[in-house]
Amino acid sequence: MSTTEIVTLSAAEMAAKVKAKEVSSRELVEAHLEVIEAAEPSVKAFLKVSGDQALEQADAFDAKSDEEKAQLPELAGVPIAIKDMIVTKGIETTAASKILEGWVPPYDATVIKKLKAAGMPLLGKTNLDEFAQGSSTEHSAYQTTHNPWDTERVPGGSGGGSAAAVAAFEAPLALGTDTGGSIRQPGSLTGTVGVKPTYGGVSRFGAIAMASSLDQIGPCSRTVLDAALLQEVIGGHDKRDSTSIPEGPRPMVAAAREGMKRDLKGLKVGLIKELGGEGFQPGVMARFEEGVKKLEEMGAEVTEVSLPHLPYSLGAYYIIMPSEVSSNLARYDGMRYGLRVMPPADVPQTAANMMAYTREAGFGDEVKRRIILGTYALSAGYYDAWYGSAQKVRTLIIDDFKKAFEKVDVLVGPTSPVTAFKFGEKTEDPMAMYAIDITTIPANLAGVPAMSIPAGLSDDGLPVGFQFLAPQQRDEAMYKPAAALEAALEEDWNGPIWQSLKTPWLDGLGK
């Protein structure tokens, strides 16, 4: 098989070929490393490529006996890229921040342990907005990642690196972290699948904390089934994470396979009334509405559902998130790891000043903005009005979802109001950047699972994302209709959405 043939397979197909001994894990890794080398100059998805380690892991997997391999999850042998927000033992982990430059963790995140145990080689660490704070990956301290669909445009964020890597065939799978849409929105902007599991469904141990009550690790992939397979590998209870749900992963793979039969009779789908209208590009709404029609054609009953407190979610999010950020990022103080900057000579050379100058130099503007905002929201005298109020709004939003899910099985809406925008287009106005998260934030506030799948291309030729949301701890409920919609759309398109993607970096790659 040629490199292009290999890397354009889905992860499930790669796994099947590994199982059939048509391809080895090493060959999969080599093919992807070749694509990475070719694509990176224009895409810049990776902060660090861990090729040697990946090959070692692949060889270790290939050397296993058939009996040993049979014990492993379906994705065994298939490589994966990791957002650099997730801690990897022995591989530099920076959260795309100068303050962590050069930090080599002495431990693995729980999800990394699970991937290693599953025999899945780690290709490297992908770019993100610094500490996952941003919606375009422009806030990385190291590099700007380009959208494979149009390299003049952002891949979304914060997990732009993982999404771009998967879209550009540099990796069949990637892990992301989603605090307010950081997996789903880049998925939407790059024509890939991105899933934020139920809060607590995947261990956060080893995910560098941004906003602990909102953060969740999840899969990035090119197909719904691949995401389901990956979520079953990384999901389940972890005693190292107190917020981890004490249950195993849901039957998501079965649900996705069921969905591929494209029978949605009896499924109740709710259109979120509050998502749409002003700020939503017409091309986005058009693709979304076509998707809804497809669901109906497959037998789903579609009704409009109101979540009346949703308009308050952006405000609540921009209190809770920076508050937790301000505390979570306190530890970057120049004492134990990462950057240390001593004050200028005319300033007393004290520990306190060292911390202040380290943090001034080590954090970017967006991170500082959120730390200051969060420090304010938590401070005495303002706590009740801000943090306290936001927590109450959270209760109301959770209740809205509960009531909605009494009426419907899944909720749907556009993943992002806009398609990929140009570099610098929104960096000057923080509120404009924040506002595009309005569609993805509610799931994080409510802890419900949500996923984005490609809904087609907008008039501008750029991908649009279709979002499904399911009740807490019922992640499988969204996989079925998502897989059904994917199958129905691909039939219309005569193949996956990436057929329309120009991939000059794949031209002329090895046989």
Partner: protein, 98 residues
């Protein structure tokens, strides 16, 4: 509605231990006032009868058995230290502020 004064930003910078530059302080003042205005409306619906939610999934604490596990080695622990001495992390002069 809160409005951020320059002094407040300076104070917040102190609390957050960030040596903000004057230019940053001015910019943050503008940014935060815009952000504050838009998020201030959460208070409209946060009435007394609504309980707060700290954690979206209602879990109770898992209690870990009191059994030791192998710790990091000293070498691993201090490997990332910007400055270390005799197996310890070095802090510049600490004022007796606590």
């Amino acid at each position: 509605m809160p409005t951020f004064t320059k002094e407040e930003i300076v104070h917040l910078g102190d609390l957050a231990r960030i040596a903000l530059t004057d230019e940053e302080i001015t910019r943050l003042q503008g940014d935060l006032n815009v952000i504050a205005e838009s998020i201030n409306k959460v208070q409209e619906i946060a009435t007394d009868d609504v309980p707060p939610t700290a954690n979206p999934i209602p879990l109770e604490a898992y209690l870990r058995p009191d059994v030791p596990e192998t710790p990091l080695t000293q070498e691993e622990a201090i490997a990332g230290a910007p400055v270390s001495e005799a197996g310890m992390f070095v802090a510049p002069r600490i004022l007796g502020e606590e």
